[in-house]
């Protein structure tokens, strides 16, 4: 039963990743669609962040430490473009603020 669930989920998630890559392999994308697709990466990442910071009941779980950590990480990412620096800034400030408060 568990094995069936794993295999079905594996097939389903592969199908989702492969679907448009195969379906639109010979389709010429109109400019409007190309423009729309430019927004997918930033919006999905933004939505994931908020989704990780909310409970399943839809309550925001981020306190001061989390909010400042995320803001600092975003700022460092913007100015350095380096994910390691951004991670250090975000986690560092998160731990320091939690330790103070």
């Amino acid at each position: 039963m568990i094995a069936t669930a794993i295999i079905l989920t594996g097939l389903g998630s592969y199908a989702m990743r492969a679907f448009f890559i195969f379906a639109l392999a010979r389709y010429s994308f109109p400019p409007i669609l190309r423009r729309a697709l430019e927004y997918v990466a930033p919006t999905v990442m933004a939505a994931l962040v908020i989704s990780m910071m909310t409970s399943t009941e839809g309550k925001l779980t981020a306190g001061w430490a989390e909010s400042i950590g995320l803001l600092l990480a975003a700022t460092v990412a913007k100015f350095t473009g380096n994910h390691i620096f951004s991670l250090l800034a975000g986690m560092g400030s998160f731990w320091v603020i939690r330790w103070i408060m």
Binding site: A5, Y14, I21, M45, A73, H83, M91
Partner: protein
Amino acid sequence: MSPSPSSIIVRGSIDALPLFIPAIPFAFVFGVVVANAGIPGWLGWSSSPIIFGGAIQVTLFTLLGEGASVAAAVSAALIVGARHLFYSLTLAPRFQDQPDWFRWIGSYVLIDQVFVLIQTKPIDEPAIFRRYFLATGFTFWALWMVFTALGILLGPAIPESWGVEFAAPVLFVSLMMAASDRRDKLIAAVIAMGITLAFSQLPHRAGILVAVALTVGIMLLMHRRQS
């Protein structure tokens, strides 16, 4: 002059490494979820090569552990992973001048981090694109295989009070900034955050899908009014 094949592969692997660090605590969370669900370790781990998607795997075993039916657990896990449809659509034009074998294999390693890395790299040459994509994808893949095994073996070795799970949203904020290389993209990200919050009560994190679809629509409308 185009860079040598091996230097592109090395570059891709190195670029993937920092993005994997936040996945390490997640691999341990995965180990705890598998243990709590009462599933044999090897069977739980088999989902790493078969599914290869952290959030999808965790959702599946959380629900199975709570006694959900196979149909319910599988469909919830797939809704959590449905954002991959957007990745597939977004990358479809860049996969057009690629051979079929790469469409089959590349799709398998199309995960969040690989998607953002490749989206922020302006690579036009198909062979370079292919090597870079596979290098980042399979570096991530190999590390995920090792660390989910460790997560299952070591279980809850990391105390929850450390809050290391916070590394995941920090990474995604960083990826969001990397993907927002124009002001309108940053505006789109902020709008998406608001919409996700407004729809956060939707089951299985479906708010993510609503937010992406609505935000892209809003951005297109704004663009039309300006031009």
